[in-house]
């Protein structure tokens, strides 16, 4: 069936032989990756977020977890009952299979799943280590055109997490208040998220190549390499190479141009940026400081239309405009900056982020989803809008929710065989 030309086939967006009584967590029909099937054996953020992005674009992702859940299954934040809001947020739209990957039978099930025939199948993403890891060689022996993306900590196999690589590539050393005696860590695992989308990009590239050549791919992606490439791609390593010494911290100032935070009279803060000449003109105009800056340019032989001069004189510029902000409430600042078309944004706490989105008249990237095991949860849709619209957000599965369905519908196992696997503890259903 899947060796026929796929152009214009009516069922290309259908989930194959799976039941169409979807449950609300499966992706909607008609999305770009409808029909694609991805098997995910990954934990924490990188692999799961990348595969979730594919699911949000229509792919059918089967996530494989150990029975009882992996090391990430109860990761914070959690509800009062201990259910992980992190896990449900990172695994929307997926099917969940709970398998004992330490047993030969369990491994065989996942190998069979990952190497199912079909042009839209045979795609595997993992971050396995040690005994539980399924190697490319093992899988490719069963399906020679397999697409396999393997995510790891370091390229040499040593483990790493976002927080260790962020330290290693120099970001923590340049982040934070200028007066800080120690590096400042990110709270956001930026490299994990970036690794996830890099894995997704690599996977789709390999799929493109396979559609043209019939050949599979083995791709590896080290979190440490994502981070190293990330800072290199900003030109920062080339700068360090030339400078020979560390860049001094610049606190909340944006590097190389003008951008910094200000406080308002009602205790709020705003981030204001003058990256382009137009934005710089707008900031001067709204704060009534154009003449001040003309005089300053003369006094200091500077040209503030040049962003590097704005950076060099950032503290002076900030001191000149700061009183304007500190004399106004956030509401006043909002009105005047928007009218003047200044580039800016308010600092918010996360409860306010939720409130702002909830109060919006039009759909936003956030919505409420009824999450089994938890209840109503504020949830993100895909940020990619297609033909002007957001796609619907979905729920995450319960652990092992689709074990029997996957074994039956995708692997063609009989009820007796499935029962035996349960009895022997090779697979499990239900749970959290």
């Amino acid at each position: 069936m899947h060796d026929e030309p796929l152009l214009h086939r009516a069922d290309v967006c259908r989930p194959g032989t799976m039941s169409e009584v979807a449950g609300m967590n499966l992706p909607a029909q008609g999305l770009p990756l409808g029909g694609l099937e991805v098997v995910e054996c990954a934990s924490f953020v990188a692999g799961p977020s990348g595969c979730m992005a594919l699911a949000q674009l229509g792919a059918h992702v089967i996530r494989v977890d150990p029975i009882g859940g992996g090391s990430d299954h109860f990761r914070w934040p959690v509800t009062d009952d201990g259910a992980s809001l992190y896990w449900t947020a990172l695994n929307k739209h997926k099917r969940s299979l709970a398998v004992d990957l330490r047993s030969p039978e369990g491994r065989e099930l996942v190998i069979a799943l990952a190497t199912r025939p079909g042009r839209e199948r045979g795609i595997f993403v993992d971050n396995g280590v040690g005994r539980a890891r399924l190697s490319y060689e093992t899988l490719a022996a069963r399906r020679s055109d397999l697409i396999h993306v393997h995510i790891q900590g370091h390229a040499d196999g040593r483990p790493a997490v976002d927080y260790t690589v962020n330290a290693e590539v120099g970001v923590a050393t340049v982040t934070g208040p200028e007066t800080s005696a120690v590096p400042v860590n990110h709270v956001l695992p930026a490299w994990d998220l970036l690794a996830g989308m890099t894995a997704a990009t690599g996977l789709l590239s390999a799929l493109h190549r396979r559609s043209l050549t019939g050949e599979g791919s083995f791709m590896e992606l080290a979190l440490a390499d994502v981070a190293t490439a990330g800072v290199a791609n900003m030109g920062w390593l080339a700068e360090a190479e030339r400078r020979g010494s560390e860049r001094p911290r610049h606190g909340n100032h944006m590097y190389g141009s003008f951008g910094v935070d200000f406080g308002t009279v009602d205790g709020r803060r705003v981030m204001v940026v003058a990256l382009t000449e137009g934005q710089w003109m707008a900031l001067q105009k709204v704060t009534g400081t154009a003449e001040v800056f003309r005089s300053l340019e003369t006094a200091l032989d500077a040209d503030l239309t040049l962003e590097n001069d704005r950076y060099r004189l950032r503290e002076t510029i900030a001191a000149i405009v700061r009183p304007w902000f500190e004399a106004r409430t956030l509401a006043q600042v909002t009105r005047e900056l928007d009218e003047a078309r200044v580039l800016w944004g308010p600092y918010r706490g996360m409860p306010e982020v939720v409130d702002v989105h909830r109060a919006a008249d039009e759909p936003t990237v956030l919505t409420q989803v009824d999450q089994p095991g938890i209840g109503s949860v504020v949830t993100a849709r895909s940020p990619l809008r297609i033909a002007g619209n957001y796609s619907e957000a979905g729920a995450a599965p319960l652990l092992g929710e689709h074990t029997d369905e996957v074994l039956s519908d995708l692997l063609g196992l009989s009820q007796a065989e499935i029962g035996r696997l349960h009895d022997h503890g090779v697979v499990a259903s239900g749970g959290r």
Copy 2:
């Protein structure tokens, strides 16, 4: 030519009709996206980094800039001569076309380029605003199956940059020292980089769909939505929704488990993480503190094998193991932690990052590239290794370096027509 089935065509990885005397900046043959052509009208980080990732996977990316360069062309860091290390780092492997997009003739050139026929063409990425913006409607009128990814600040069209959205989605409010009275900005534009890879993923999804259905796509991606979805996907907005108040800052501590920084006797710092039970056991073992923690568990009725108890007692745990680190040099810590298989990493400054990679015996994700206009520059390859290998890094173009080649080879213009466009200031060549 390009309506023939592409499977097994010998030239699928060739750059089409362009000269194969490539110059060292074009992607190597045989990469997954060889043959794909993308037209990029984007500036700063998001669009360019996403398109560069596609170029590093083999795609031929034609970057369109205004004559003399856009607002990002001289962005820091720069060399002593003012050449932007940022621009060259973000635009490796691309061809550069310099065009006056405010002129109807200039716009027509880019429209023709973006809508060139062929299954591997008609792919356009932009972040245009205002008069210079080429709309989907305009382009799709010329090629109905166009794939267009449009990157913007906010979904409603208002401008935004990484530093403003990072404030708006609550990350700056939770980042930084616990004692900080103000939010702490990221130096790394994480959302820009994530938006770039999200755009690349969307583009390839649309390409997949077009290969099956013959239909194009218009996708929009707002930086603010990438950031909002990013924090939602960590479960943090759901947590805020339930808690109703802001999460207190937790400084350099990893949220929900144990991970924090320590100093060594020789003034270095290390980030140490005990995310899993095995990592926690290893940390206790190497620091000789297992008995201390058993007694502590009894005294406090805690179970430190549970990561939430490790988080709750993080300051106590840190105080107990800190002396072990502070009595050792980085070299000693390195040896002992690696041998004990503790999950950790040293804090580095960026000059040291360069040195470490330069000293490596095997290829790493970094390499030196001879960058025209600058010289030898430390540069990142793609972090995606294929069949066990890194791909080669390439150079960025000089501004307008490929203007004449693109007009001639891709648009079929005559030398006379090209000369006229130069004379009328519609296009330009050379420059930096």
